[in-house]
Symmetry: C2
Subunit: 337 residues, 2 copies
Amino acid sequence: MMARLTAFLVASLATIAAAMAQPADPLPSWDDGATKSAITDFVARVTRDGGPDFVRPAERIAVFDNDGTLWCEQPVYFQAAFGLDQVKALAPQHPEWKQKQPFKGFLANDKPALAAQGEKGLLTLLSVAHSGMTTDAYAKSVGDWLAQAKHPRFNRPYNELVYQPMIELLAYLRANGFKTFIVSGGGVEFMRVWAEKAYGIPPEQVVGSSGVTRFEIGADGKPVLMKLPKVEFIDDGPGKPSGINRFIGRRPILAFGNSDGDHQMLQWTAAGPGARFLGIVHHTDAVRKYAYDRQSKIGKLDKAWDEAVQRGWTVVDMAKDWKTVFAFERSSTGASQ
Amino acid sequence: MMARLTAFLVASLATIAAAMAQPADPLPSWDDGATKSAITDFVARVTRDGGPDFVRPAERIAVFDNDGTLWCEQPVYFQAAFGLDQVKALAPQHPEWKQKQPFKGFLANDKPALAAQGEKGLLTLLSVAHSGMTTDAYAKSVGDWLAQAKHPRFNRPYNELVYQPMIELLAYLRANGFKTFIVSGGGVEFMRVWAEKAYGIPPEQVVGSSGVTRFEIGADGKPVLMKLPKVEFIDDGPGKPSGINRFIGRRPILAFGNSDGDHQMLQWTAAGPGARFLGIVHHTDAVRKYAYDRQSKIGKLDKAWDEAVQRGWTVVDMAKDWKTVFAFERSSTGASQ
């Protein structure tokens, strides 16, 4: 009993200290303008118990696209960079790839051909390239790649190219009772390897595209899941509401994307009853990052932008609204190029 | 500040009260024998910080089959009972069903034909019957059905036929930092309507079979998800490890099933490193429920049982290990018939 009372008194002091401390700004990398206010106002409304817009915690579902929304997607989707390296590494075992598209383009490091693949072509290619691997071996190959590969412009591991303001936003939402999910066109097994460390989002809250797997008992009597050369589900564009329905089973109250691939996810989220927050990251910052929208092959933002303007969704102007893009900018060894 | 201090003092009194109370038995419906000890010993081992079998909370994934493990599955899967009622209700719009199997069997209330369908046949049939409905309309039809349909033997709403010992086990695991999931051959959209209330398991922790849905903008300009007549994924047998991989992305440390449809899920869970708990509910209780195993068309338990005996998995003898099966047994208006 004494030990419990002591623990209780220690906890009490911590509580008093927390109550007396002024809360620090939870979004320090965001400029103190209208965009930041739109976010904090929304969170205040849905968390005010007894208020007209209150949403119980179980229903506070927030969904985020990944490529271009939570991390960089230029000059090619990072999963494409991984795929390129993988196809090169596996090519000696597949001489037929040299003559056959899309492998031929990958092996020739043909960037326009790569970019033209889009997520679907990329996933089809990768599902073929990785067929015959177990899910465990695949996860290891992603981890090994991240440990040594570097982004061509920033010369950093790819998983450091996550957007600091979005990391803060995810943590801020979770501190306010939200459950944060990734809903991405990227491969679910690719993202899960690093998403928990990068974003604080556990594997079971990552929704993405997937390939078919088959349960087998291996030669050693141990069960394995083998990756088959077949795409199972493309979680992009109109597939995103289907993915949300299948994996989450509740309509989100907050959605954040950056491209037309997120348009239907934003529409689906917007159409629910009660308070909603719809956000779009607009890539306006050519100096610190890349600037692109309507004409881009990767992360094209066109129709979703038009609807955002029409309906008053929140469009984040990266150059203006984000004080910091990447955490490493704060150190002296910022972006090199 | 005063309001905060008042709230703090109230919280403090609640903490003191909680600390002084002796913890009640978290599994009162379980007999105090070896089965219950196997469960509580496992939980004690994996939650003992610093112990050799400690598992951090994020990795405490527990998966449960639904039909026959968390609720009754006799005389037919409850989703089949729902399907039968739905097909009957929709039949006037489909005169062709009278001549066509499997609809013909459903409409004739042909129980052997129904039982012979299995989960796959049932899901195929239901995906056809429900095609052209929106996901919202479908969820409403499940809720409406549960509100009026009664089990033929117990004369109770189907969602009252949940196993009280398993409800206690789910709550006990969650109180010990586990995240509880359903991994069922049943339709994911069917289960999510009632699983949160019945089991405390939120929609995003329900893994199941699913049909294809298509995003459409309705005539009123509102987006909907339409159910298509196509099965997308069968989360049964060897599909269960694939479903776990796709939806959860971590290997469970505890799995509970009752039939050969859970065999691969148990094998997959057992094959991970560290402490594991594998449980099988054996339907031995003909008096309070139904007794069946190797010869049953529904919930056949044969190969998984053999492996359980061979490997020392925990086989729950319902007649002996469960003091109560259904919560309503405790009231005076228990099972009729």
